[in-house]
Symmetry: C2
Subunit: 415 residues, 2 copies
């Protein structure tokens, strides 16, 4: 079996040092979310294809990995007409849709409001490029069943605290509201049902620039002057002039309240501001939306918003919902760039033995004695070039080594 030993295109193997950083990060985030009363749930990576394809996942719908039907259900003669005849499930592209399905299914057994946190791998068949992968970790908190802005504020507070626990400072929490965009769309004389489509176009401004956003809006059937006007107004918005542009006073109050209150919890550690051009790219947001950006990356490291309609579509009963997702992979990248090394929980010792000169019994007995002293112990055959082996062990992070021949524990001197 001569075979390609690389991982599948766009996916990654993780070496022990990479896993260590990812686990450290997961642990810090998990602890913060548990302190804030969130409960972890898990759903399968595989979902019904109808659920995935009928969702409001925007551009992600074109990126679904589809799984072939099995056995009698697979009728290959139907294939030439439509690939969808061949598949009945697919890999999830985010954690929000599975959460909505989970909640619709398990609601009777869950507390209300339900504060969930999740971490898991999601899959998108994007064109692989630097920093973009086809399998990546998402890390979400969501509050379901709470209509008031306390939900938004708790998510912003918990997410910011998680980023602080990771060691980030000086980031900016940006807040806006889909209802602001809806008011602008209405002020242009357009149907507010167009708001999600307009949001998907505007969300691309960072990538393609405002000129091209206007072109995209025109493609959606909005006339050139209206599109340019909308973009101009958006950039000029502030909490003070929202009312002049037709945004209702309740929305202005809610938005101002969240920005002001969130700022009081920020202290000097991070900033909170109204970001008029923030809209987020998913179709399902209905209210406030937020992102966190860092100066280091110049990129968003967290994003979320209110999606009151999504759960209702699945369970037939309206359920208010808000979520905030940490960009796990971007934070891993940031920490790697900074040369961050996770703290060691137990010191490690390498137990070196001579092959042939000692029994497995003596090796394991000596290792066990060192474990009783509180060390993590890896047994290794001693190499001919001991000096080189010891340098490698020190570089790998061992605190010291034990020579079975000399029955001697030697700790490395730390720089």
């Amino acid at each position: 079996m001569k075979c390609n030993t690389n991982p599948v295109k766009g996916m990654r193997d993780f070496l022990p040092s990479e896993v260590r950083l990812r686990e450290y990060l997961t642990g810090v985030i998990a602890r913060t979310y548990a302190q804030h009363g969130f409960q972890r749930i898990e759903t399968p990576a595989v979902e019904h294809i109808e659920l995935l394809q009928n969702s409001e996942g925007g551009e992600n719908l074109a990126l679904i990995f589809k799984i072939l039907k099995r056995g009698e259900k697979l009728d290959l003669t139907k294939a030439s007409q439509n690939e969808d005849e061949l598949v009945d499930s697919g890999l999830r592209y985010d954690l929000t849709l599975p959460l909505a399905r989970f909640y619709a299914n398990q609601r009777a057994r869950l507390p209300e409001p339900f504060k969930a946190w999740q971490i898991g791998t999601v899959y998108r068949a994007e064109r692989p490029q630097k920093g973009r992968f086809r399998a990546f970790t998402q890390c979400d908190i969501d509050i379901l069943g709470e209509a008031s802005e306390i939900a938004e504020l708790e998510l912003i507070h918990a997410t910011a605290e998680a980023l602080k626990a990771i060691g980030l400072r000086g980031f900016t929490v940006e807040v806006s509201d889909r209802r602001v965009l809806a008011a602008l769309v209405a002020a242009l004389g357009l149907d507010t049902a167009l708001t999600p489509l307009v949001a998907v176009c505007i969300d691309k401004a960072d990538k393609i620039g405002w000129e091209k956003v206007i072109e995209e809006l025109v493609k959606q059937g909005i006339d050139q002057i209206a599109a340019a006007g909308l973009v101009g107004v958006m950039q000029s918005l502030s909490l003070g002039n929202l009312a002049e542009h037709g945004v209702s006073s309740s929305v202005v109050e809610a938005l101002s309240g969240v920005v002001e209150t969130a700022a009081t919890f920020a202290g000097g550690d991070y900033n909170v501001r109204f970001a008029p051009t923030l809209v987020r790219g998913m179709g399902y947001y209905t209210g406030m939306v937020f992102e966190i950006t860092t100066a280091e990356l110049g990129l968003s490291v967290a994003g979320g918003g209110r999606y009151d309609g999504l759960v209702g579509k699945l369970c037939g009963q309206s359920v208010p919902a808000v979520g905030f997702s940490i960009g796990f992979e971007r934070i891993v990248l940031l920490l790697e760039q900074q040369g961050f090394t996770p703290p060691v929980s137990i010191p490690s010792v390498a137990l070196l033995y001579n092959r042939g000169e000692c029994t497995a019994h003596s090796v394991i007995t000596a290792a066990e004695a060192l474990r009783q002293q509180g060390y993590a112990v890896r047994t290794l055959p001693e190499r001919a070039k001991l000096g080189k082996q010891l340098s490698q062990l020190e570089a790998e992070g061992f605190a010291g080594y034990y020579s079975l021949a000399k029955m001697e524990l030697v700790m490395f001197e730390r720089a």
Copy 2:
């Protein structure tokens, strides 16, 4: 979007209490393996279809979830001939094959011997039944690059220690060797290349009984008398009479040595014995094989063995390898049956507030003050029926509640 909100057939959603148990278990196993010097790696759940289909996974090859090719690569006109024209990847059915691919790919960057541990979800499209799932967690340790029995002994020791740390006692480590079976096959005048096939048949004895095993062997082309003889001899084997049945003295010595040495580390906590009929169902084992069974379940809770050929097939260079896998799902089941509750790391307090009577600012400020005192805090609106709400909170595991109206922390009295 009216949609089935159940998870995909054979897969599971996990409620917070279920995740808590699974995370506790993962944590105990992770700590034990780290103490024994194993390093965690991760590979993607998606693998190349050629790798999966050309592997020696026995009956698992028929159970692969296959993923549709994308874009131009997908030629639907070819579908009517062969479904394999439509797919280029699939979900992994175990963690051993991905480890072998990982090692073949990354060998230059890994220590030698390499002691790996993994935990992850694997997928098999089995007929769903009680206790059998289409997505389940596996938890493996492997040693690559060590030909001597110290590898077997370290895996047995570390796995038994992990089970002890979970709280299991009185289990039995069963040890045998594929080379014993190969000797029996040779003694019958058959080609030893048949050994893996014979092993797959014999491995079914627990499920289908020995009569049917003989039928299966006959189906593989072995004559009735030889098959019955083989089964009879297997059941009569002991470490003392292996030599009489053509097993080489080096194999007898290795097997006796591992059983005796492993027993010295067992103390009174578990048993170690030679199990003549143990063969394991995967085609790739080449040497010793082992299983751990518990009296409680009457089932194997861990299994593994030596597979010296597998990595070599992928990297073109022979690499000795041994692995041991804990049956994570079976242990979860066992702990659930025993009503086990994982210990609480930080005590939780519910902060109860009256909607409308207080600001989000006051709620979050009070929650933060309780967090500073070391509590995990979940904020919840106080319900009209407070007594019922408090009973529910206590049942859910909260240590107490804080009434924002009364500014009072009340701890529940523990039974």
